[in-house]
Amino acid sequence: MNDGEIFGFLGPNGAGKTTTIRMLCCLISKTSGTARVAGYEVGDAADSLKIRRLIGLVPDNVGLYESLSAYDNLDYYGRFYDCTEAQRKERIPIFLKMLGIWEKKDDAVGTLSKGMKQKLAIARALVHDPQILFMDEPTVNLDPEAARTVRDFILELKKEEKTIFLSTHNLDEAQRICDRIGILNTRLRAIGTPEELERSVGGKKTVVQLEQANEAILTALRKLQLGEVSVEGNSITVAVASPETENPAILDAIFRAGGRIQSANVVGSTLEDAYLRLVRERERD
């Protein structure tokens, strides 16, 4: 991971996302290999404490003390990181206000909604101003508005040059906020920017919607010897390397074969395509 980037960690259930986060946060031991966090060796007893000082963790279960107030929960954790009382008094209101839960600061956590608890867990991970933030599915089970607040907040943290390791199932979320993405399925299958991953599973496709697709049109398109040609209903999809140069020939071939074109669009492979292909590769292995 690079400093100040949001790194998305995608993978199906059981892929090892939470286990990886726990290893990197020095909560559990690694069985093999090496890992370094902020230059410190994961697994080294002395370095483990240094790593834990530098990181913040938002676990998959919020793990807040339900009978304590929102403020007291944050204050309690702030103490473990040697935050002075003045620092805690300064930072806690900032995060609670940024996440829109300041009015609930004195309420027992047990009375808060799931979304508020999730926001509070994020604030807890930030109260000591960590360099690196590990977030394990921070928007899961949140309503769209709360999920958006959390996503916007993560982007705000990026502006403050925090390095964020974000585990998520939400491909759209990963595509929108992550600088780079790693796809994991018991081992790291691919790593790159969302665009690089999309390109890795193929180029673009031209989708032509016809009034009536037929065999003659398909034969004409195959004769062009471009990419793979497929049909679904009256929609024909042709894989293209360069839409700008190949689309005129495609449309011309359809027209000459008697096809009546309703619409034509160029679509690229999506992150979902890349994800599913990489995950299925593992299942085939």
């Binding site: 559990i28 404490l49 834990r52 676990p59 919020v62 309690y76 473990f80 991970a125």
Partner: protein, 242 residues
């Protein structure tokens, strides 16, 4: 080790227990009910001016407070780690730069201090009431004496520490508070066995015997401390014992 961090854990646990009225009630009710019953028996025997009987009874009655000291921390100590597991707060707690020793000490103090406070409260009431009830029979105040000092200042805290160590060990390996408490109650047996030995006349509750028992208990506590520290494995607590 940073004692202030351990104290942070302790004070948080205090605040949480203060909101659990059933925990406070059971912590206070048990020693007070025992104290009332013991004082009633002392009053009854003193009323018959049975000095020999009183002298036989009072050391073993005082020994009850060492048993109470072992029993009281089970509620809080067994809740200590299981409670964190139940609230799913163990993972964020272990992700902080707290060392195992700091966490264990904090959890231990949270169970030790209220248990000893309740034990001493009961013992104080018992000693004062006994002195008032037996002054006429003895012609002097029975308490304080060296035997009671050995029981309350040595044996009681040592038995509380033993109970806490065993309970913390158990609670890091079970995921249900009730199971933790039921297993934790087993820690009362060693002190119960000493009491039984005294009642059967195998040992006497004199200062020398109590000091020897305290010495043995100290060694047991040191051994259990070593075992508790070595068996407190974050990996297993987070993964196997969920």
């Amino acid at each position: 080790m940073r004692l202030s961090k351990s104290w942070d854990v302790t004070s948080k646990d205090f605040r949480m227990f203060l909101r659990k009225k059933n925990v406070i009630t059971s912590m206070l009710a048990f020693p007070l009910v025992i104290t009332f019953l013991l004082s009633y028996v002392v009053g009854f025997v003193a009323g018959r001016s049975a000095v020999a009987g009183l002298l036989a009874l009072l050391p073993s009655f005082t020994f009850y407070y060492a048993i109470i000291a072992a029993l009281l921390p089970t509620t809080i100590a067994s809740y200590s780690l299981v409670g964190e597991k139940m609230e799913k707060s163990l993972e964020p707690l272990l992700a902080t730069p707290m060392t195992d020793d700091e966490i264990l000490l904090g959890k231990g103090m949270a169970a030790f201090l209220p248990a000893m406070l309740a034990t001493y409260l009961g013992a104080s009431i018992f000693m004062v009431s006994t002195d008032l009830l037996t002054r006429g029979a003895f012609g002097y105040y029975y308490f304080p004496n060296l035997g009671a000092g050995a029981i309350l200042l040595l044996l009681a805290p040592l038995s509380a520490v033993m109970s806490i160590e065993v309970n913390v060990m158990i609670s890091s390996r079970v995921s249900d508070v009730r199971v933790g408490q039921q297993l934790g109650f087993l820690t009362v047996f060693p002190m119960g066995a000493v009491y039984l030995a005294g009642e059967l006349g195998l040992i006497s509750f004199d200062v020398i015997t109590l000091s020897v028992v305290s010495g043995i208990l100290l060694m047991v506590d040191v051994f259990l401390l070593f075992v508790t520290r070595t068996t407190f494995r974050r990996d297993e607590i987070l993964t196997r014992w969920r």
